[in-house]
Symmetry: C2
Subunit: 587 residues, 2 copies
């Protein structure tokens, strides 16, 4: 399970979870000492009582000191009738999916109102193990965005893939001592939890009494009972209202998810009934720069919910008080004395246009742009992870006189279908059939130099020529590549290996586009705008090769996730997720 990390012992969990009592803050709260800032003239949204209060809000240091009249301050800031609302909390996000470092992620989401995220660093953990988690914690230190971490429960997601590291219960317990580690991240090995797998139960027991997030797509009935009894307290994988309602009934918090490649909000709007509203939160899970920069994240979800007619304060609770309560974050989620001064100034409660963002008592963004933005020292990057050995026959699928399984991509979903076809063959080997949109797909193990390659077929990506490859392949993050011919495939794979990680499009021997992702092969160290342009470029290049998908790389990156139904591929081969086992290409 790797070396035991040192340095998880932070300032103690109380620093982040409780309210450190400060007698100077109390003096300000009482009105006996001047505040740092008093926000006047605002309409303060009270998420406890669903009221709008016309009161002043006094800030001191990083905290809210009090609400009311009669506060003095060195700085009085008039809100001119605007609404003051609590900063948004994203209940579940993999920051790595933004393709940028935490600092750049923060610069993208904070101006739109997200001031706290509960992150699961399981992408980087699958590459670098505990060192990867430590990097994410260090890289998010001192940012205006508060980045909490859930200890990644499924690294690797299953034994059916090869990751760069494995995290055992004892590794997770060591992490759990860090003040920003809240609990156990999504327990994706739901069959393991349901069937009482020893290693899964050991992790669940290690986090008993702390938040444990679930991940149970389509799990219903008695299996759901077992999953809930095993410990998880939430789920963000619901796709239909009946499923979400059943999970609420059994006691799970439901996180509504609107990821770049898994958009479930619209379908789940019917669950927002008054009786349930206290047990629903919002999350973005995996969002790429174009979404983050153009439509937003939690703010965009709230706008959609408001447009559906939900009471504005009820809607705001989904992104403030509810996740705070679920995660036991008594220091945020509302505008109240002693809580952290993460505040948004918005013009109205429909458009939610964020005029100002205050993080920990400082105004850090105005009209969508950062101001007074801190630039903490970036941490040392983890060492490169690109250990690939690709033999000359590595991509060859010998033909057999049988039918073959084909992974079927469903746009905007991370679930896939499964088909069976007669594959096209040539000279005794299987080849891509772009006319029928049946293409070769390969997962090349990149962490351990094993030379292992999983090979299969996929439909729905729609390339007519060339190939694409990426080192982002949930969750094992081996190299995943799809192509019309082996030359293009090899060129694309080689391009990302040489770049130390990235996304590439190739045609024959030519690299058409390349986005470098040198941080664990998952993230760029460039500004988010630059990465967004680079991503647009590789996506456009893939679309020029014929893919009709709006983001073929995002689609590709989830074809390796062997915990999401139905048919997936890892370096070990095809996975029938419903049966939860490796299956042969041939039927």
């Amino acid at each position: 399970s790797g070396c035991r990390p040192s340095g998880w012992h932070g300032a103690g969990r109380t620093a982040s979870l409780g309210l450190m009592v400060d007698s100077d803050l109390l003096a300000v709260a009482r009105g006996d000492a001047p505040a740092d800032v008093v926000l006047t003239g605002g309409r303060v949204v009270n998420v406890f009582t669903a009221e709008i209060e016309r009161v002043d809000v006094a800030l001191w240091g990083t905290s809210i000191a009090g609400l009311g009249k009669g506060y003095r301050a060195s700085r009085v800031h008039d809100l001119d009738g605007a609404y003051l609302i609590p900063g948004f909390i994203d209940a579940h996000v993999h920051i790595e999916s933004s393709l940028v470092t935490p600092a750049e992620f923060a610069r993208a989401v904070v101006p739109r109102g997200t001031t706290t995220v509960v992150s699961d660093p399981h992408e980087i953990a699958n590459v670098h193990g505990t060192e990867g988690v430590r990097y994410m914690l260090e890289a998010s230190e001192g940012l205006p965005l508060t980045v909490f971490v859930m200890a990644s429960s499924c690294v690797p997601a299953t034994p059916m893939s090869t990751a760069g590291a494995a995290l055992e219960a004892e590794d997770l317990q060591a992490m759990a001592r860090h003040p920003r580690v809240l609990g156990l991240a999504e327990v994706m090995n739901f069959p393991g939890a349901i069937h009482g797998d020893g290693a899964v139960l050991a992790k669940l027991e290690a986090f008993a009494g702390r938040p444990i997030d679930g991940h149970a797509p389509g799990v219903r009935g008695l299996a759901l009972n077992a999953y809930v009894a095993a410990g998880p307290g939430s789920d963000h994988e619901c796709t239909r209202p009946e499923e979400a309602l059943e999970k609420l009934r059994r006691g799970l918090f439901v996180f509504l998810r609107e990821a770049t490649n898994a958009r479930n909000l619209e379908a789940l709007l019917p669950i927002l009934r008054p009786a349930n509203l206290g047990r629903v939160a919002l999350c973005t899970d995996d969002r790429q720069p174009p979404d983050l920069l153009d439509s937003g994240g939690i703010d965009a979800m709230l706008r959609r919910i408001l447009a559906a007619g939900l009471d504005p304060v009820d809607a705001l609770r989904l992104a403030t008080l509810n996740p705070a309560e679920y995660f036991g974050l008594r220091d945020r989620g509302a505008i109240a004395p002693g809580r952290v001064a993460d505040l948004l100034v918005v013009d109205d409660l429909r458009s939610l246009r964020v005029r100002e963002v205050w993080c920990a008592g400082r105004r850090v963004a105005r009209d969508g742009a950062v101001v007074d933005w801190p630039e903490p020292e970036p941490p040392r990057l983890p060492s490169p992870s690109m250990n690939v050995s690709l033999g000359p026959d590595a991509l060859v699928i010998p033909a057999e006189p049988r039918r073959a399984r084909v992974i079927e991509v469903i746009e905007d979903q991370i679930v896939t279908g499964a088909r069976v076809v007669e594959p096209r063959t040539q000279g005794g080997v299987v080849v891509s059939d772009p006319g029928a949109d049946v293409l070769k797909i390969a997962v090349v193990e990149r962490h351990r130099g094993s030379g292992r390659v999983g090979l299969g077929l996929v439909t729905g990506l729609g390339l007519r020529r060339g190939a694409m490859a990426g080192t982002v392949a949930h969750d094992h993050h081996n190299i995943i590549a799809v192509g019309v011919d082996d030359d293009s495939l090899r060129t694309a794979v080689t391009a990302v290996v040489d770049a130390g990680g990235g996304l590439a499009v190739a045609e024959g021997g030519e690299v058409r586009a390349l986005l470098r992702l040198p941080v664990a092969g998952l993230m760029s160290d460039a500004p988010v705008e630059t990465v967004r342009a680079g991503l647009d470029e590789v996506v456009q290049a893939a679309r020029r090769l014929g893919s009709p998908l709006h983001d073929p790389f995002m689609a590709l990156s989830f074809l390796g996730l062997e915990v999401i139904p139905t048919l997936k591929i890892t370096d070990r081969g095809l996975v029938d997720v419903d049966a939860f086992r490796l299956v042969d290409l041939w039927v």
Copy 2:
């Protein structure tokens, strides 16, 4: 701060707060192994979604395994259309106020549906310190009632009284390691919290990130901001809707209280608005045997709330899911997989007549009477605490040519008024004036043999002759006595001293009635029915002496509580609670 206790280290907090994962339970939940019991034919109240589900409920061991159809069991129990609801949680109670031991308290409350209480053992802690808390924990081990403990924050309540022990932050931290200790009990020293008193802040900091209960009668405005910023997360001292709403707005959970001597439910019904319903719970605080046995506790409160027209599931949440969430008790508060099988069978959701009570998977009461009731070994009692030295002039108040302060009893409230009168004098000393209902009141220090006696005057108890004395005197639990003449006073005080604690009524040299309370001078070791009869006897005896109050002993016992406005008395003298200082009898 007393000796460091050993043995606080229990099985780890996770055992009580989280879900211990048990692979056998999962097998039952999945339907792969038979349950112990399946409850069929019931209407299961779902407090998560406010729905009634017609599903079976499978129990295994102490837990709920699952809900649904298809469960097998060695025992099938048909509920015949009755409602199945979660056991009630009393959010704040001093068990000692029941005048019986935890086992007898459980026998009184469990048949009426309370299966979990969050107790503050600060009565016994004021007498015996950590040994007293340990006694309560041991005495509640193995009972069908789950007794959680909040570490008593204010022992003594203030330096203005003499208690038998003092608990410092380090004592409380030691207690906090016990698996049934949840957090910090009501922070009654609200001026200390608001003004940043060092000892109070040390206790608050020691419990940062854990539940901290508040106690802030009448605290509003900026002072409330400071109190909330200091850390408490709840309040159960509201008497008016505006006060309760303000506390909700600032983020406090509001516990509605209906104690024997402080009945606030009726007045606070207006706060039960939809937006607030998730942040209100119910508590009994201090309830004596007649109330417990005749009208009940949480069940009686719920009946009143239901009669006011609240939706039944919303009402039930106040006593189930809401307190569970506030205290972070993920293992109870709802009927859901993996939660403890604390269940009530009720005929309807209006009368809430409890037909059956199941605790931890066993049926322990039926039609109001216990069945299959465990009789755990009673723990060793704490040593007697009655160290009194009463000199011949101890009860004498020398007259002065001034007016004197008089404590004014307000029936059914623990707040008092304050008056100023010209006292009756005789031979140079102040004497009681039964005609004007101004009587002498004395607090005799009983823990340390100091001989200290606080003397004052009281109106509203209404004795026409004789005296009454008791060793129950919140929270210091010295001897509190009121009387028309010094002979009677001395006889009553001597009676409770000789009994090792208790309540006594005397007239001249005769003891008219005596209820022995040998356990810390607070609790009897007799069955609750016997204690109830004994209490009836002393109360009737006091009423025969002229008191018009329905329970003059309960009223008397709160006249020593120097954290409840307005004028109180301790062994150190009169306390002006609003000014939070000792004041002279003479104005």
